[in-house]
Point group: C2
Chain length 340, copies 2
């Protein structure tokens, strides 16, 4: 149906439209690319491409612009991965040096991704399901409040404050020792059972403080770090001031809905493992984002923590470069997390 030349034409249309932001006509197409045919021929090809739904003309007597379907074909079959510039390579390989903790790594990653793609970046916290519990810390803060800190072998530190009746330092120390002796070195899933058992045959003296603390710990074990996301590069939206309704507003609205972002990333990552996934326009599961595209990739390994990162931007974006950048950042962050 679509011979090579027609594919070339589509590729040229996408490329030109992405860079010029304007509908592209047959004449300029032939000029700017080395197509060895006449505009009239190209016009015939374009008519076919339009019939097949890969391109449309915004109005009669205007050039063509790619449809979501056109971008999809472009991404699947026509895009050649654009190698990163040396400056980008350098930026990526130095950006994470000196990161202090996981929060810092996530923050740096999202800024890096936003910078190299010039889009809005989203990074999900890695989930390390195989982590062991390293330490449970219990600290009295005031007479009736305490702080629970849970430290895992993957280096995550989670904290909660809770109210306790009659906190005596001695009881706290006992409970801390008890918890640690039962929990250290075991996996969170096993810890849940262990804690439940512990709660029932708890020393009577410890029960008043032990019960709420165990409840909080169970809650902490249930909550997954990977339901956290960080967002960056929002100022990059300023470049799209002209397409306020189709790009800026939907992204702004989605950004503060963590749930939306998580499902977006999750859905995108679930398809192909370790490769860059692209969701173009209407392919997105969320209606408000159907005028935008998502480029995402999972990163990390199951043992060191695995999650997804990506960018959101207008459907008219430079897919080859963006995909290359997202892939490079994902790989680098994965490597960085593995090395530590």
């Amino acid at each position: 149906m679509l011979d090579d030349r027609k594919l070339d034409v589509l590729k040229a249309i996408v490329t030109d439209y992405v860079s010029s932001k304007e509908p592209v006509g047959s004449k300029s197409l032939v000029e700017r690319h080395g197509l060895r045919v006449s505009p009239a021929t190209v016009r015939n090809d374009m008519a076919v491409l339009e019939e097949e739904g890969y391109i449309v003309q915004p109005h009669t007597s205007a050039g063509r612009i790619p449809t979501d379907k056109g971008y999809r074909l472009f991404v699947d079959r026509l895009a050649t991965v654009k190698p990163l510039s040396p400056a980008e390579r350098r930026a990526i390989s130095t950006f994470l040096a000196g990161a202090i903790d996981l929060d810092d790594v996530m923050g740096r990653t999202v800024r890096l991704l936003a910078q190299v793609t010039s889009q809005v970046a989203i990074v999900q916290y890695p989930a390390a399901p195989a982590a062991q519990i390293r330490h449970v810390e219990l600290v009295g803060l005031t007479t009736d409040r305490a702080l629970v800190v849970l430290i895992t072998s993957s280096g995550t530190v989670e904290q909660r404050t809770l109210e306790l009746p009659h906190v005596s330092d001695d009881h706290i120390a006992q409970l801390r020792a008890l918890l640690n002796s039962h929990l250290i070195g075991i996996a969170p899933s096993a810890a849940v059972d262990r804690l439940a058992a512990l709660a029932t045959d708890l020393d009577l003296a410890l029960r008043p403080i032990g019960t709420p603390v165990i409840a909080v710990l169970l809650d902490m074990l249930a909550s997954d770090a990977s339901d956290r996301v960080v967002v960056g590069g929002v100022p990059n939206l300023a470049r799209f001031g002209d397409q306020f309704e189709t790009t800026v507003r939907p992204v702004l609205e989605a950004l503060e809905e963590n749930v939306v972002l998580l499902r977006l990333l999750g859905e995108a990552a679930s398809s192909v493992d370790g490769e860059v996934t692209v969701r173009i326009g209407h392919e997105n599961p969320y209606e408000t984002l159907q005028t935008t595209s998502l480029v995402a990739s999972s990163y990390g390994t199951v043992s060191d923590g695995r999650a997804t990162l990506g960018i959101v931007g207008p459907t008219r974006m430079d897919y080859p470069s963006t995909m290359a950048s997202v892939r490079a950042v994902a790989r680098y962050v994965g490597r960085f997390l593995a090395e530590g």
Copy 2:
């Protein structure tokens, strides 16, 4: 110079312009407010107000709009604090219930503030200079990496990972005990001296791991939690799609510069203590934000942690309501932090 009626006229102009977004003329002014004079009289007053720089007309035959100076006079002398609606009161007083930790409190606060003001909200983490050190935790993660956690009496938990040579669990335990015995219960400022002393006469066996750990601890003590800010309500910018250049773009650009936000809040809060501060247009220290206004207030107490929160929006905003909301949120968060 400005008699009561001229002030009334200015007040009416500000009120009308804020709600209608359109230059306001003498006739509609007289109609919509109970001014007991004729449009001609109002026109004379407006001429004077314009001469004094409180209002301008965008073009010769249009109504007047307030200048920054006009808004300033309005805020200082004319605005009557608009009482909060019952719904707002309810929202404010329930929003923080069930907060899990400080991060959660900050996150909820920024969302609350963004919601009640319908603007972009900024909340600075509270600084609790008088906090005591409650606990130092040191956990080996892999053979050559360890995690340092610093817990203070104000409930803040700070964590860092670092690389260590030859980590033996025994040495780690020794060092942990040593650090805690020296640090627990003392203020961060004193801890700095104590750590420096500790570093010099450290047991030779502990020195290889003790030195880097102490360095990290000193760094953690030096870093202040109050240099963290959270931002929320960015989607509210979508309402200002028409004023993209004067409102959306500047705010977007400022948002990701934590330094800018911190200086902005710091400068605003430093003026009057515990009251709402307003920076209108050119009064802002940052050029890019000179088409926007900042409404801020400090919150909390020195002992429980003190910081600043506020909102950024267009100069044409409903100052009375916004100021009331900011003040209410600041007070409520302060109270919440004090109660725990």
